[in-house]
């Protein structure tokens, strides 16, 4: 589930069959959707944790910006932890 740069297959699109080409596009599409969804949930989560909802003005104060930076970093760490657990869980389920 981690982010990977293109593997060998993605660079050799000229040598793929039409079905493999379709599948490569479908996978790229799914990866992009995953990243967009991840970003949106990160924005939402740190908005809820850090942003003062009284809206006295439209700027983030010093406390909010520090919180947002640290929240983003902690969220990213959480993505890694959950990713590892899901990977281990999948391996467990595939064992005969």
């Amino acid at each position: 589930m981690t982010d990977q740069g293109g593997g060998g297959g993605q660079n050799n699109m000229q040598t793929m069959t039409p079905e493999q080409r379709e599948q490569a596009f479908a996978m790229a599409n799914q990866e992009m959707e995953y990243r967009v969804d991840l970003f949106n949930k990160l924005v939402h989560s740190c908005y809820e944790k850090c942003i003062d909802k009284r809206f006295k003005d439209g700027d983030l104060n010093v406390g909010e910006t520090a919180c947002v930076d640290r929240c983003s970093s902690k969220y990213w760490q959480s993505v890694g932890i959950v990713g590892q657990l899901l990977g281990a869980n999948q391996q467990q389920q595939q064992q005969p």
Binding site: M1, A26, Q30, E33, Y34, D37, L38, K41, H44, S45, E48, K49, C50, A66, C67, D69, R70, C71, S73, K74, Y75, Q77, S78, V79, I81, V82, G83, L85, L86, N89
Partner: protein, 94 residues
């Protein structure tokens, strides 16, 4: 989809249907991954004095994740049973 039904399709359609199911499963897995991070982060991480997770926050996220997966697996079994029960009964008049 009912495995009997899937196998009764012509080869070309079966391939297409299997591809459709696999795409849906992959997309659902990726969504579940993102939902799980959001849910466990929300429950477990509430202070932002530092930019790294505290040990107890890491533990909380791990336990939250394990617990959700076990919960989801149990519901999965119940869901299959409830589905099977509904198949046996005549459907309510729609």
């Amino acid at each position: 989809m009912d495995p009997q039904l899937l196998n009764s399709l012509p080869e070309e359609d079966k391939t297409k249907m299997v591809a459709m199911i696999e795409t849906m499963q992959t997309r659902d897995s990726l969504r579940m991954y993102n939902n799980l991070v959001e849910k466990c982060f929300s429950e477990c991480v509430n202070s932002f004095r530092r930019k790294s997770l505290e040990k107890d926050e890491e533990r909380c996220v791990s336990k939250c994740c394990e617990k959700f997966l076990k919960h989801s697996a149990r519901v999965s079994v119940r869901f299959a049973e409830l589905n099977a029960q509904t198949m046996e009964q005549p459907p309510p008049a729609a």
